[in-house]
Symmetry: C2
Subunit: 144 residues, 2 copies
């Protein structure tokens, strides 16, 4: 017959479902809103944001794909195609890396920066609405 979860397991499952619900709500809303108004998916926005941040640190809005990869939760192939979409949309530029010619350097175009700046307020607004009040399961410790 069915064995029951231990209290620890039950708490784990509860946290997992909470995480699933929050993720679904935010991700779904972000995809819809950003897609509708700016033609960007959630991950596209995320990549643009990393490029903007990379620019602040570096100098020329440039970032290696291999540096970007660990920060976005996508497979290597998915990231490659996402970048291809961004390039096709004129938001980033792919160029060969000088020091290692296997590598690709991403440059944010002016249009890319503008699109990001325009989309950011909506992104923050959606997050505030979906994550806003509650302090999520992500940071809680299972106790009961």
């Amino acid at each position: 017959m069915a064995e029951l979860d231990s209290p620890a397991e039950a708490g784990l499952v509860a946290r997992w479902r909470e995480l699933l619900a929050r993720h679904a709500a935010s991700a779904c809303a972000l995809d819809r809103e950003l897609g509708e108004r700016f033609g960007l998916g959630m991950s596209e926005f995320e990549v643009l944001e990393r490029l903007v941040e990379g620019c602040a640190a570096g100098g020329g809005h440039a970032l290696r794909v291999s540096e970007l990869a660990p920060t976005v939760h996508l497979s290597q192939s998915a990231l490659s195609r996402l970048i291809a979409r961004l390039e096709k949309a004129g938001l980033v530029t792919r160029s060969m890396c000088e020091s290692d010619r296997r590598g690709i350097v991403l440059t944010l175009t002016e249009a890319g920066r503008e699109r990001y700046e325009q989309a950011r307020p909506l992104h923050r607004e959606v997050l505030a609405q979906t994550l806003g009040g509650g302090f999520g399961a992500a940071c809680e410790v299972p106790s009961d």
Copy 2:
């Protein structure tokens, strides 16, 4: 030029990234492990679990699709196809609802219950590893 996020927005973004990371780690691990060893995706397992829970409440392991839908974070079409996969795999049975012939009633087969019972320990274990102690566990190789 770029306007900076307010402290509140920065906190929101930090929470969002944390949530993304946790979700990616757990979801990826669950999909891989459950898929590899039991031929189940994360959502497939989730649906089986709802059916098992539904059985505990009801009597005959039966649940309307329309009752199931709000508890899984999938579109209606995705859920329909997921159920078709489960049925094809012999884990659930679709039958017409007597009281409302538009509706579909799902019944967990014996094989479905067995598969669930077998998979559950691994499911809990993966959750414990990704949500529990290990913080930042990624689906990819941990960057050393």
